[in-house]
Amino acid sequence: MSSSTELTEKKVFLLKSLDGVIFEVEESVAVQLEVIRELIEGDCARPFISLYNVTSEILALVIEYCKHHAETCSGGTSATIADEDLKTFDNEFMNVDENILLELCSAADYLDIKSLFELTCRTLASLIKDRTIIEVRKMFNVENDFSVVEEKAVRKEFAWAFK
C-alpha cells in the first residue's frame, strides 16, 4: 500500500517570478498561496503562473516558508511539537534585513498567505516598538519631509506621546 502511495505522481505547479525564474512547487505548497489556490481550483494554473510583482529572491523565500509549513503540518507529529517547530522556524525565518522583510510582507499580502502576512507585520511592528523616531526613520530610510514648524506642531498636538 505504502509503495503505491509513494509511486503516485505528485501534482506540481510552475510559478514564474518577475525576473523570469520558474519555480516548481508541489500542490501542498502551492495551495498555501491563496491566489494560486483559486487559480488551481479553476484549472487555470497551466502552463505556469506568472507572478509579475515578486522577484525570484523573494519567491524563493516564500516557497521555503510554505514548504516548511506544509511539511510540518502533514508530518504526523503532535500538534504541540509541530507548533514549537513552526515557532522556531518562523523566528529564524524572520532574521533577515528590513528591506527583505518589507518585500516578504508585500508578497504575502499579494499572494494572500495569511500566516506569513501576520508574521511579517508582527515582526515589522516589533522593529518599530521601543525605538525612537530617529532610529525608525534611519532603519527604514524614511525621509522626514516635515518642516521644523510642522513637526513641532504635530509633537505639540500629542505632547503626551512624545515625553
Binding site: 479553476g42 487555470c44 509579475y52 518589507l102 510582507c105 508585500s106 511592528a125 516635515f146
Partner: protein
C-alpha cells in the same frame, strides 16, 4: 500570455488572472525602482491597509508617535481599531497637572478625530479623576464606531453617566465597566454580548430576570459590588453562562434580605463571595 490555454467561459478565473496581471504592471514598476535603490524608503510605499495592520500590533502610544515619521504617516493613526489608553502619570511629580492635561487632551483627539472605520476595542483605564462629560462623549464615539469590546475603568469618587445608546449597542461582544455609574435605561438590548463585567454599577427599576433576558448569549459574568435598587430577589438565570464571579463585599444593609438564585445549566466556573445567602440551582433554565 497564458490566457490562450484557458477554456472559454471561465470568466471569473479570467478576471482573476487579469487582475493579477493588471496589479502586476504597477508592482513591476515599483519593484524596478526598489532594485535601483535599496536605500529607498520601502515601508512608506506600502498601502495604508498594510501599514495599519503593522500598527495594530503596537501600543496606542507608539502608534501616535509614528505620526511624525513623515507626512505619509501623519494621519494613519486615525483608523486604528484597537485603542488602549491608560494613565501612568506620577502624581508626586511637580508637572503632574500639566502632564494630566496633555494626556486627557490626547485621549480626546484620538477618539474625536477617529475616521469612519470601526473601533474594535477601546480600553480606558484611568487612576486620575476625569470629567464625567468627557467620559460620556468618549463612550458615545466608541458606540458610533460599532465598538465590539469596551473596557472602562475609572476611580471612585464620582458618578458617571452613560449614553443611552450603549444599552442598545448591537455590536458589543464584551463590556467591562469598573466605574460608579447608573443603569437606568428604558431598554436594554445586547444581542451579541458574551462577556459582561460590572463593578460599582447600580441597576435601577428592572427585575434581574428582565435584565439577563436582554443578554441571551452571555457566557461570562462578573458582578462586583453592584447594587440592584428595589430588588429583593436577585435571579441570575442565563442558559449559556459558563463562568460566574459574584462578589458583594460592600455595605450589606440594603441587601440584607436579598436572596440570590442562580439558575444555570452550563456553568464550569463559579466564584462567589457574598454577605448574604446564595441559592445555587444547577438546572436547565
Amino acid at each position: 500570455m497564458q490566457c490562450q490555454f484557458w477554456k472559454v467561459g471561465e470568466h471569473q478565473n479570467l478576471f482573476m488572472a487579469n487582475l493579477i496581471v493588471l496589479k502586476s504592471e504597477e508592482q513591476q514598476r515599483l519593484s524596478k525602482l526598489k532594485k535601483e535603490d535599496r536605500r529607498e524608503d520601502l515601508i512608506s510605499i506600502l498601502p495604508n491597509a498594510i501599514l495599519q495592520h503593522i500598527l495594530s500590533f503596537l501600543p496606542t502610544k507608539d502608534i501616535i508617535r509614528t505620526s511624525i515619521l513623515c507626512k505619509r504617516w501623519k494621519n494613519l493613526w486615525t483608523s486604528i481599531s484597537n485603542i488602549d489608553l491608560w494613565d501612568s502619570i506620577d502624581i508626586t511629580k511637580s508637572d503632574y497637572l500639566k502632564r494630566r492635561a496633555s494626556f486627557l487632551d490626547s485621549v480626546e483627539r484620538i477618539l474625536l478625530q477617529h475616521d469612519d472605520s470601526n473601533i474594535e476595542r477601546l480600553r480606558l483605564s484611568f487612576k486620575m479623576p476625569v470629567n464625567p462629560t468627557h467620559v460620556y462623549s468618549w463612550i458615545s464615539v466608541a458606540i458610533k464606531h460599532n465598538i465590539r469590546k469596551l473596557d472602562v475603568s475609572l476611580p471612585l469618587g464620582c458618578i458617571y453617566s452613560l449614553p443611552c445608546d450603549l444599552f442598545t449597542c448591537e455590536s458589543l461582544t464584551e463590556l467591562r465597566l469598573y466605574m460608579a455609574c447608573f443603569f437606568n435605561p428604558s431598554l436594554i438590548h445586547w444581542p451579541n454580548l458574551k462577556e459582561l463585567h460590572l463593578s460599582q454599577v447600580t441597576i435601577f427599576n428592572r427585575s434581574s430576570t428582565q435584565f439577563f433576558s436582554s443578554i441571551p448569549l452571555l457566557q461570562n459574568l462578573v458582578l462586583v459590588n453592584c447594587e440592584w435598587e428595589n430588588i429583593r430577589r436577585l435571579s441570575i438565570s442565563v442558559p449559556n453562562l459558563r463562568c460566574l464571579i459574584f462578589k458583594q463585599c460592600s455595605d450589606p444593609e440594603d441587601l440584607l434580605d436579598c436572596e440570590i438564585v442562580v439558575r444555570v445549566s452550563n456553568l464550569v466556573y463559579l466564584n462567589c463571595i457574598s454577605n448574604f445567602s446564595v441559592n445555587l440551582l444547577v438546572s436547565a433554565c
